[in-house]
């Protein structure tokens, strides 16, 4: 059975916080109320960059506005703008460090965990 704590942290990040501002991956400093995210996928060092749309209980991820980190090597996703990534294939999720307030995140995750215990 999936332990609650990693789910809490990630879900809390998405559900509890509105992260304001941040740069879109690939350049261009624009202030937007979105969560820019770089996701690394298992498939042979294939990594996808995009804006986090939603996450579910299996940590499946929906991204909008995809860009592949190395499009010459991996042209497969050239015509794809939005995608769904199965949670089981994600190796790393890289988040922009300045977007995350770890203290706030930790507190929210702790509260979520308490609520779920009751």
């Amino acid at each position: 059975m999936l332990t609650r704590s990693p789910l809490c942290v990630f879900a809390a990040f998405l559900l509890v916080f509105q992260v304001v501002g941040g740069e879109r991956c690939g350049g261009g400093a624009q202030k937007r109320p979105e969560i820019p995210l770089i996701i690394f996928i298992y498939i042979s060092l294939f990594s996808i960059c995009g804006t986090l749309h939603s996450v579910d209980q299996y940590l499946n991820i929906k991204l909008t506005d995809i860009s592949v980190t190395d499009p010459e090597k991996y042209p497969h996703m050239l015509s794809v703008k939005n995608c769904f990534i199965r949670g089981s294939v994600v190796r790393y999720v890289q988040l922009p460090a300045d977007e995350v307030d770890t203290q706030l995140l930790q507190d929210a995750a702790r509260k979520e965990a308490m609520q779920q215990k009751q």
Binding site: Y42, M77, S79, F84, I85
Partner: protein, 87 residues
């Protein structure tokens, strides 16, 4: 239900019309074809027809933008085939 590109856990790319899915990501794809990439020749498309893909084998589902896809010159794309997913 639009045209989608599926990347499977063994590194294959399948393009088709998504007819249905369920919670375990089992998929029903109509008019599907596999796009085989190779470093020596252009993209080869193998017609498959109606497919059911089991969710365990699905890695990524991408929504294909028809406009961008029609501008792709598949004959000239060279790429190494993807490796399979390693846990």
């Amino acid at each position: 239900s639009g045209t989608v590109a599926i990347i499977t856990s063994d590194g294959r790319m399948i393009v088709g019309t998504l007819k249905g899915f369920d919670q375990t990501i089992n998929l029903i794809l109509d008019e599907s074809h596999e796009r085989v990439f190779s470093s020596s020749q252009g993209v080869e498309q193998v017609v498959l027809g109606l497919y059911i893909v089991r969710g365990d084998n699905v890695a990524v589902i991408g929504e294909i933008d028809e406009e961008t896809d029609s501008t792709l010159d598949l004959g000239n794309i060279r790429a190494e085939p993807l490796n399979s997913v390693v846990h």
